[in-house]
């Protein structure tokens, strides 16, 4: 099951990235960043979302918007998913959710990043993942390091959101 969060206020990482990418020919006009949580376990979606709301560790209702279905995200973005080559199970989040649910039903929470690129102009050529996402000594892209991350271009339909699972 997938849950995303995004900041209510301006995300300064996205703002900095946007400023950098403005130098690139294929740079987007606006960049949005989403934290992407892939959650594995034997738990119903509504229970899980209640637990996340109540104190799942990675969601603060004052700071974040919780996104658990496709319709909550603007489709007019080109999405890039940046995943660690060696995923790390966020045990503190697993513990927090299981504690709230009072049973050890969640086994894994893997955190990754979803970057949304808005283009106000029509695109002649689709942006190349390596060019706009992967860091090189001479490139401008800051989003993924080739030794740590893997990047893929994805569509919203490929994301199995918690409320649509």
């Amino acid at each position: 099951m997938i849950i995303c969060t995004t900041l209510k206020q301006k995300d300064l990482a996205a703002v900095s990235a946007q400023k950098l990418m403005a130098q690139s020919e294929n740079g987007p006009d606006i960049i949005r960043r989403y934290d992407y949580y892939s959650i594995a376990g034997d738990v119903a979606a509504d229970q899980l979302i209640s637990a996340v709301h109540a104190g799942g560790g990675f969601f603060n209702p004052n700071k974040h918007v919780l996104l658990s279905k496709k319709s909550q995200i603007n489709e007019n973005q080109v999405f890039f998913h940046v995943v660690r080559r060696t995923p790390i199970n966020c045990l503190n989040y697993v513990r927090a959710i299981n504690d709230w649910l009072k049973k050890p039903v969640v086994s894994h929470i893997f955190q990754s990043e979803l970057w949304g690129f808005f283009y106000e102009r029509p695109l002649m050529v689709a942006p190349n993942v390596n060019e706009v996402m992967v860091s090189t000594p001479n490139g401008i892209a800051p989003f993924a390091h080739p030794l740590i991350h893997q990047v893929s271009k994805i569509s919203l339909n490929q994301i199995q959101f918690a409320n649509e699972a």
């Binding site: 950098l20 790390i88 860091s135 080739p146 740590i148």
Partner: protein, 245 residues
């Protein structure tokens, strides 16, 4: 002979770097990241520690992509000495000043122990140079010297695409024994690496803080060193790398 200490938004070790350079007899001044100077009049560059751009995305990556870093790269190619400490090291690595090719050969990722992130580390540790003679900042030392040093970072774990670099510093015990295990290597760094040299030996990216090494050693370290007959060497001598011609 003037060394530029580059201040990025979020740097916080520039004053102590200036103090350390001054104590070593190196003339220096702070240069802002927005400077349009061509840098040709400077004889060396120090990128100090801190949290440039709040460590957004990855520590050092935003600063690494600034136009200023292209000038620093040009100066590195001319053979001028460049020292990056902590966040400065992260910026050097992210900008490719340490790498030799068209891809990034190394990265500094967040601290880990036993496959789990361990957060920020703030402690004393010990370093030992390897192939010291190949880097101008390390050439004041021998490969047997043990340097007590302050460690203060949340992202200090080196990852390399290839073999161990040819010159740099590794974390060791007080007796000079290297180990990749926690707590001697406090962040899970590959090969226990704490700092790396570029291939030409004029650039050093080091995570612990040599500029703080004139601070008094904790009594526990002094006592243990005395008990073991260890002659600990002051890491401030790294700054002498700016003096050589």
């Amino acid at each position: 002979m003037t060394v530029a200490v580059i201040r990025f938004p979020g740097s916080n070790c520039e004053d102590e770097s200036i103090q350390a350079l001054t104590e070593c007899g190196v003339s220096c001044r702070i240069v802002e990241w927005t400077s349009d100077d061509d840098f040709n009049d400077f004889t060396g560059f120090l990128l100090p520690g801190g949290f440039s751009y709040q460590d957004r995305i990855r520590a050092g990556v935003i600063a690494a992509k600034l136009p200023l870093m292209n000038k620093i790269k040009g100066q590195a190619k001319q053979g001028k000495p460049i020292l990056g400490i902590c966040n400065g090291a992260q910026i050097l690595v992210e900008s490719g000043v340490i790498s030799s090719g068209s891809t990034l050969d190394e990265v500094i990722d967040f601290n880990m122990a036993e496959h789990q992130p361990i957060g920020f580390v703030s402690d004393w540790g010990f370093l030992r140079p390897f192939n010291a003679k190949y880097n101008r900042f390390l050439s004041s030392f021998t490969d047997n010297d043990v340097l007590p040093i302050q460690i203060c970072h949340g992202e200090g774990r080196f990852i390399f695409s290839g073999a161990k670099p040819h010159s740099g510093v590794v974390y060791v015990s007080m007796l000079g024994e290297p180990s990749e295990a926690f707590p001697i290597t406090p962040n899970g760094s590959a090969h226990g690496i704490a700092g790396v040299s570029n291939r030409d030996g004029n650039v050093l990216a080091i995570m612990p803080h040599p500029e703080r090494s004139n601070a008094p050693l904790p009594l526990s370290i002094k006592t243990a060193a005395k008990k073991n007959g260890m002659n600990l060497v002051n890491a401030m001598a790294l700054m002498n790398g700016f003096k050589q011609v």
